[in-house]
Amino acid sequence: MVRFILARLVKAAFILLAILVLNFSLIHAAPGDPAAVMAGEAGATDEQFLEDLRRRFGLDQPFHVQLWIYIKGAVQLDLGYSYRRGMPVAELIWDRLPATLLLTATAFFISIIFGVIAGVAAAARQGRWSDSIISTLALLFYATPLFWVALMAALLFSVTLGWLPGFGYETVGANHTGFARALDIGRHLVLPATTLGLFFTAIYVRMTRASMLEVSRLDFVKTARAKGLSPGVIQRRHVLRNALLPVITLAGLQAGQIVGGAVLTETVFAWPGIGRLMFEAISQRDYNVLLGVFFVSAAMVLLFNLITDIVYVIVDPRIRITQ
């Protein structure tokens, strides 16, 4: 097991390096550079000023030199410097990370818990009206674009009903501390987390329902009935455990998006996280920030892929690591 994890980590490091090179090349292939944007914003048309900016940022160096400098830094977790914000990129990401993790992790757990429960309920009531309602809702949320749900949720619960705050991370200027602050953040969290989780909730519902129905037709479920077990135990111990295997695969996919997957939600709800940082970095051509965010997201995807594989080995005894 340890050898398997180590081998995978080594492999991940190479993949990460490849991603880094690819991202760096892609960004540099795009027309225009940060210096031009900054100069344009400052209203400067002077060629000399532009040259100075480029020299200051190191943009006058040949491509491979820039790449080499960047990689050397990234290995030491130095992701460069954002001249727009006057801060090292790593620090910027580190500042924004907690807000994003709070949002995406909450959304992750909301969608898994509600998705699996609703899926099990729908499967148990297959063909009845409660199944139809759950399945229809799941299909609806699956098909509706995220930003639209977000806007409508903000409009309804915040603007019209006034139940929940519609944007931001906490009430500005309230200076809450301790529990009061946690509660305040929690209230701000409800709408974005629910919105972000809805899509995956819908997928989990459909997946769990289909998987439960499929497993309940298998032979060993009949064996369990022939033992005289009660329906509840059969559902829990025999059907659900087997039905959750495909759900784990999906959960791994969702978990991989834990850093980079909330751009839309964070933008609509003005949530000060990585997603919004990325959005702003794109419009400002803040390449170092953009590259940094890509790098961290890619690392997370690789990490959660590995975790998913390990979870699989634990829950399914048939899977053995072959090297």
């Binding site: 032979d219 022939a226 033992k227 005289g228 329906p231 025999h238 005894p317």
Partner: protein, 542 residues
Amino acid sequence: MSLLSIRDLAIALPKGADRPHAIENVSFDLAEGEILCIVGESGSGKSMSANAVMGLLPEGVNPVKGSVNFEGGDILGLPERAMQAIRGRKIGMIFQEPLSALNPLMRIGAQIAEVFEAHGLLTPGERQRRALELLREVHLPDPEKAIRAYPFQLSGGQRQRVMIAMALALQPSILIADEPTTALDVTTQAQILTLIEELRQKRGMGVIFITHDFGVVADIADRVIVMEKGLIVEQGAVDDVLLRAKHPYTQKLVRAIPGITAGEKQDFEAAPVILKVRDLNKTFTTGGGWFKAPRVVHAVNKVSFDLRTGETIGIVGESGSGKSTCGRCIVRLIEPDGGSVEMGGVDMAMLKGAALRSNRKRIQMIFQDPFSSLNPRARVGRILTEGPIAHGTPRREARERARELLELVGLDASAMKRFPHEFSGGQRQRIGIARALALDPDILIADEAVSALDVSIQAQVLDLLADLKTRLNLSMLFITHDLRVAAQVCDRIMVMQHGKLVEIGPAGKVLSEPEHPYTRSLLDAIPGKAYEQALKQVVEAG
């Protein structure tokens, strides 16, 4: 007094099924310590009757009439909760597929302990101890290890023993066994049958044994029920039904049982060799488990033989003996590791690309499972013409030929426009044969081609193959685990064990005077040999 008595049982099928009732007017009794066999072909309703006793009918299938009397009351239609108390405790059940009948994610010990837990008996520690005792009682090798194993770490026969241990955990008075040995090898089957017999004697259980194999019936049954299309057509003591059958359906089934003695065989000594296999080798490396360290399996180990024009060679052996791998290596569905497969001066094992494709059509395969070996989304017309068109036959010509082929295998030309699911298992196997013949092969490889079929259908398909073989002058490799079938169709038989060819010779000689001890053990394990003798005497006596 009888243990179980069923009266006038009728079970309705959902609307749209091919008949309104799964079973009708079913009445029978089971006495203490008696083994009652229910025989019939697939769809005869034999499993339905047994499942009804357990209250384990599929959804939408419900009893509409009759009674199941057990321990002084009618248990048909008891509420679920009351049935739970009976299942496992009073009536145990084992199923056909040991590979899928156990939860893949739970340890063996936990699955047995569950039986006690379901009925609120014993403490967790005692349950494990009892589980171990039970595993010993069903003669599972290394029970201490097996109790901690997962199902996938056990073989099919071992899993069936676990199923039996589970069914017997609470000493039920009735054991229902639904085709428990159908998926097992003959030697494993013989062991399981001995085990059931032993446990019946020790515990005085009544056993309802559902099977389609008359040999098994003859060996273990006290009484027999024959079912056809949901009705009991005949029931009585085993000798009365099997030797002196009154109902024409029973007589038909008895006639369809292939005999183990080989009939008149042609000698192909003088015929030219069409396929020359030399030192064929294939190894698989498998991962380790609880009972085996990671190891290299010699699936096919230096196998050499000659197939002559017009001849049929049977390849027999148990599962895992390498007989299927051997067939697949010859057509290059699996890449052999070494050796040569020479056909008309060309070494099939070495060919590549276009040369392989054009030579491959000379050898065609017929597969075991008529349900999964045909593309469910393709009409029969496409299935039959795809091969010839790929080899350059004009579409019209190929379709014309497909119609002829359908006629040749005994199907109507209108089958061209239909999908595989619209046909029965036997008809689909005919389509499979037509597909193999569409490329005008010289050699057919039939891999367990009749194993999934009922005896009467099996006999028809075998007749068809024999007829086609002589008409088209085909040579055939017939892979089977069923020595009775091999005896009927093969000129020569080769026996494989652990990838090695242990014996090859004329069918009559291999079956009557086997040289290798393994061949002898295979022959000894065949059920119903005494019955076959008795039947012959009855037939001779008129």
